[in-house]
């Protein structure tokens, strides 16, 4: 208990139209409220179906701070179960992925469960005869999340039993996921290898906000992108000579403010939004032989062209993932504590597309988002300096008012100048909504 726990008024007061209070980043109490409310009431990304292709395949991950298992059930459907034995709490699976066969078996006392969580067997069961086990939580098998949805291969879950539907939650924002999947001539993605895992000593929301922060690349990344441009010029290569790969990936970070202003930002209800409406830093990648042909064959010339012309930059799916459609990358911002976040950066292969596309995606991932990335280094430095700077008392608000307008309506879609902080405001609007949604209902019922 403290200032914020189950107190919708105190939580809502952390967000003003043009600024947010630093407790939103620094308070462990607020963090625990986020885990309890925001990450329970919102739809959260779990994994990709290709991580569990066969029956009995599982993948262990988390929703907020709740350990969960994504598992392919005997019917072929994917289930999401809490990773906790209903007997005494032991995590059922510890490894990150594997195959459990037809059932899970707890390593402690061998209770076993079907892959949809139902209790299958208990050794020496007569010890529970007439004890009323079936009336307890423990007698009900492994607990499942409130709701699961497989959207074109991407698995999302809502922890809460009741709440907003998947369609209402994501609405039109799903067009970004559609574009990413449609870029496969087969309309299918497959995960490639393990994700990069990168530990930051800062609040998870700083990373999410950074995804649509278009005023930082040319500043924070001058040392990498600017130096790349300089080195390239020193090489004095002829215009038509093939550019070093690094140039194609990193140099666009040095684009001028006007480039980012013109590319536009679109926001959708419930905190989703993306940069790069008309073009983006991914627009000018070189063509890969055979790809357009394969796309044309699958979709027809017109649709193929339309899919490839939509080069959205970063799409944030509130609360904690970002995807890059043009390069099939997905980043999850995993909140471990108020000041501790792991970022996992996944890449996917476009089924039936040339391998060179996967190679470019892998290159982007390691050059920009690895713990060894010269671009990532400066981002981490900024977040952690902010996390420390926010401890200054008497200056307790973080500004988000760039290009703010009076009475902004976040419940309707909007397209604005590409350097607006409207998407950050949109996220905080949704933050208040999903933090307090169940509390408000409880209050109303009382």
């Amino acid at each position: 208990m403290g200032t914020y726990t189950d107190n919708p008024a105190a939580l809502a007061a952390l967000v003003e139209p043009h600024q947010v209070h630093r407790d939103i980043y620094t308070s462990q109490e607020v963090y625990l409220q986020e885990m309890k409310h925001l990450f329970a009431n919102a739809w959260i990304f779990v994994g990709h179906e290709s991580q569990t292709p066969n029956k009995g395949d599982y993948f262990s991950t988390q929703i907020g701070n709740q350990p969960v298992i994504q598992v392919r059930h005997s019917t072929g459907d994917i289930h999401v179960l809490l990773n906790r034995c209903p007997h005494k709490g032991t995590k059922i699976v510890i490894d990150r992925q594997g195959n459990t066969g037809k059932f899970f078996r707890c390593p402690y006392h061998a209770w076993s469960f079907k892959t949809d969580g139902c209790l299958l067997a208990i050794p020496l069961k007569k010890g529970y005869q007439d004890t009323g086990l079936e009336k307890t939580q423990s007698g009900n098998g492994m607990k499942a999340v409130g709701d699961v949805r497989n959207y074109r291969g991407f698995i999302f879950a809502r922890l809460a039993e009741e709440g907003i539907s998947f369609e209402d939650y994501f609405g039109e924002s799903l067009t970004s996921l559609d574009n990413m999947v449609d870029r496969s001539p087969a309309g299918r993605l497959e995960v490639v290898g393990p994700p990069l895992r990168y530990l930051h000593h800062c609040n998870w929301k700083m990373l999410v906000e950074n995804q649509t922060d278009t005023c930082h690349p040319m500043v924070a990344h001058e040392s990498s992108a600017g130096t790349a441009v300089k080195l390239y010029e020193e090489l004095g290569l002829p215009e038509d000579a093939p550019k070093p790969a690094a140039m194609e990936i990193i140099a666009p970070f040095m684009s001028a403010y006007e480039f980012f202003e013109d590319m536009g930002i679109r926001t959708w209800p419930n905190g989703h939004g993306h940069t790069g409406v008309s073009h983006s830093i991914h627009s000018d990648y070189s063509e890969i032989p055979g790809y357009l042909e394969a796309m044309t064959e699958s979709y027809g010339a017109e649709k193929a062209k339309a899919i490839l012309a939509d080069n959205r930059h970063n799409t944030v799916y509130f609360p904690n993932i970002m995807i890059k459609g043009p390069i099939q990358q997905l980043r999850v911002f995993i909140p471990l504590a108020a000041d501790k976040t792991i970022v996992e950066s996944y890449i996917y292969r476009l089924v039936d597309a040339p391998d060179e596309l996967t190679a470019r995606t892998a290159m982007y991932n390691r050059m920009i988002n690895a713990p060894t990335s010269i671009v990532g280094h400066d981002d981490l430095e900024m977040y952690e300096r902010a996390q420390e700077g926010l401890m200054v008392d008497g200056l307790e608000w973080v500004n988000i008012q760039r290009l703010i307008e009076e009475d902004e309506d976040f419940e309707t879609e909007a397209i604005e100048n590409g350097t607006t902080e409207r998407q950050m405001r949109n996220q905080f609007h949704a933050w208040v909504k999903f933090m307090t949604i169940a509390m408000d209902e409880k209050e109303a019922a009382e």
Binding site: R96, V192, G193, P194, P195, L196, R197, Y198, L199, H200, H201, A220, E222, S223, S224, G226, T227, A228, L231, Y232, P244, A245, A246, I342, S345, I347, R349, D355, T358, A359, A362, M363, N365, R366, M367, A370, P371, T372, I374, G376, H377, D378, L380, E381, M382
Partner: protein, 157 residues
């Protein structure tokens, strides 16, 4: 020059010293122009191209990486990191006339401000004798806990 096991072993030790002393001009000169510094992400990874790695860098990227360390606006290097390699005696795995392969187990320490991290690594060097000098054709650095979440690794293990 005739390359003996000692020549190879000395070369590996000298390279580590250059990295620890920040002597990057000499270090870059050790490389053949089409060499790659590869740090896999996955345990026993075999494909550097079509899968994510921590690093897979050609000479342009390595130059960029090294040049950046001294930039006026390299914020993550204010203050600078320092590093330190402790090597086991390198194994000479292959010895032909002009091509050599060594494997070296090392402990790599990188530090900045109040943080210090220790990485246990295995470095595989593909070396070549070109114009009378030993050069790095390729280098592969495997981190033992490659699947762990890392903080910044800013210098070169």
């Amino acid at each position: 020059m005739t390359v003996t096991r000692d020549t190879l072993i000395d070369f590996i030790y000298d390279e580590a010293r250059m990295l620890d002393e920040g002597n990057y001009t000499d270090w870059l000169n050790l490389w053949l122009p089409d060499g790659h510094y590869w740090m896999p992400l996955d345990y026993k990874q075999s494909d550097p191209i079509n899968q994510t790695s921590l690093m897979y860098e050609d000479m342009f990227m390595l130059k960029l990486r090294v040049e950046r360390l001294n930039g006026a606006r390299t914020f993550s290097q204010k203050p600078k990191s320092r590093c330190h390699h402790v090597l086991q005696r390198p194994f000479v795995d292959e010895m032909e006339e002009t091509r050599f392969v060594t494997t070296t187990f090392m402990h790599y320490v990188e530090t900045r401000l109040d943080e210090q991290q220790l990485l246990a690594i295995t470095a595989r060097h593909d070396l070549a004798l070109v114009d009378g000098a030993l050069r790095i054709a390729n280098k592969r650095v495997d981190i033992v806990n490659c699947d762990a979440a890392f903080r910044n690794i800013q210098l070169l293990p």
